[in-house]
Symmetry: C2
Subunit: 304 residues, 2 copies
């Protein structure tokens, strides 16, 4: 098993990285375990609302976050998947797909992943025309017709990235009108290659080895749109299954109080994986800081 | 009286500026009223824990925040002092020392100010050797002996700024050991011009037109330290007196829930003025974002 860490942070998005910087500055014996670095920030397009950067791309901001963390020489286990977090006697056990660890305190900052549409053809054509990351995959669809599924800020963000690349963009939005920030909505609606279908849902993805179209349903009428790319931006689900016994809300988000405490002493949580309202980079970063400050207080109070 | 704004934000520190950027991006009819710009961030020394900037000075970060706000063309009333915020029928009234205003929603981000020591000589020698802002005033004490009153991160920050300038620095700390981040504490303790007095309190500031020394008390013994500068870093008190009727805790901080709602509908609050634990720039910024997102939802739900 080896040593018991003061603190293990699970995840390295804005919340986890900020938590790690604060912990390193307090000289905690610390480890970060994460599947990837940057979280949802790393796959965002253009970011205009991270205070202090008037304009920066998601990958660039994520790179700055990573550099910030690296300057403190923090141990970061990458490409390692946590499969169980569980309270034991006076510590918390963290099992990954590679090794078991132990820490006196754990901060869960594992974020969210894309929600699947759950329609026929979706799994079949994943990575064969269906993408959950416009920043990663938009360049593959140069000059082609594509669909964005969703109607909030992440759908608008995907559309804005595709406007520079695709030939025509259908936005399939389930609600009566697009949501998200006005500043982004105006740019999307102002583009002459964007066609918005409101009150519409995807019924199926069709293709032949690769995506050839989507079937959509509006007011009981079905029609087929010929597209070669489908960008799914239909919300996010929390990566919280591996945290055992803590209270979650019906969305699966880990419930926390204003001190980032979960229902189990010694297990803290921060960022998109929690029930804090507002899934924003600046909010997640602030929450990560708060989680470490409170975890530090907990460590001081329970140190024997 | 003029128009009713959608939103008035009071204060322009990290919380207020972030709140204003989010509100501008949602095209709210918006005004910011503030005494100054940058808040406590603007008078901080070296900042190493604002995620995305490995290292930046307080004034530089505050300048970046201000530029960020200015790009949105937000109306900012500067050097204007709010004297009363009060709920009226379907709006909130905001009275300043210059004019009365009205908004459907107000976000209070007025932050904190330095706590006074409350000892003889303090008011008499304010700006005659006593300072509440090391960033502003440290350069005046080149080659001189000074005292820093306090033992947390802001006292350490003041000491670090003075190490480059002063001849000798006494730290007068009321607790048994210095607090704050280890990374800062080590630098301060490692300096050979710093002398730390723990379990010590200031009894009086003495002088003759200008500060000449402080009388300190340790274990019932009094002694006089000859210093020409006294930097008070003995905590902060919230700027919350002008907000009428909302619930506050015994420190005077405005109580908020996780949606940044105060006890009065239509009045939101964020940042250091609230009871959120952790007075940090990144936390205040995140809270400012959250306040606007929730204020926006409130506006949508109450729009007639």
């Amino acid at each position: 098993m080896g040593q018991t860490y003061d603190l293990i942070i699970i995840g390295a998005g804005p919340a986890g990285i900020t938590a790690s910087v604060y912990a390193a500055r307090k000289r905690l014996n610390l480890m970060v375990i994460t599947r990837d670095i940057g979280g949802q920030a790393a796959i965002s397009g253009d970011i205009g609302n991270y205070t202090g950067y008037q304009f920066i791309t998601g990958p660039d901001l994520a790179a700055k976050f990573e550099e910030h963390m690296r300057t403190y020489g923090i141990t970061v286990k990458e490409n390692e998947e946590v499969i169980e977090v569980k309270k034991i006697a006076n510590a918390v056990s963290v099992k990954t797909d590679k090794e078991p660890y132990e820490a006196r305190v754990v901060i869960v900052t594992s974020g969210k992943k894309s929600r699947e549409l759950g329609v026929p053809g979706e799994r079949e054509y994943k990575n064969r025309g269906i993408s959950y990351c416009a920043t990663c995959d938009a360049p593959l669809f140069s000059g082609k017709d594509v669909a964005v599924i969703g109607g909030g800020n992440s759908a608008l963000d995907a559309a804005l990235q595709l406007i520079k690349i695709a030939r025509r963009i259908y936005i399939i939005n389930i609600t009566p009108a697009l949501g998200g920030d006005a500043i982004m909505r105006e740019k999307v609606i102002g583009s002459n290659i964007v066609i918005v279908y409101n009150n519409a849902r995807v019924a199926a993805v069709i293709g032949d080895k690769l995506v050839k179209g989507i079937r959509i349903k509006r007011e009981d009428r079905e029609e087929t749109l010929p597209v070669e790319g489908v960008f799914v931006e239909a919300g996010l689900v929390p990566n919280s299954e591996f945290v055992k016994d803590v209270e979650k809300n019906k969305l699966g988000e880990i419930k926390i109080n204003s001190r980032n405490e979960t229902s189990i002493p010694g297990i803290f949580a921060a960022g998109d994986v929690t029930d804090v309202p507002g899934k924003q980079i600046i909010i997640a970063a602030g929450e990560g800081s708060k989680a470490t400050l409170n975890a530090f207080r907990y460590l001081a109070q329970t140190r024997s």
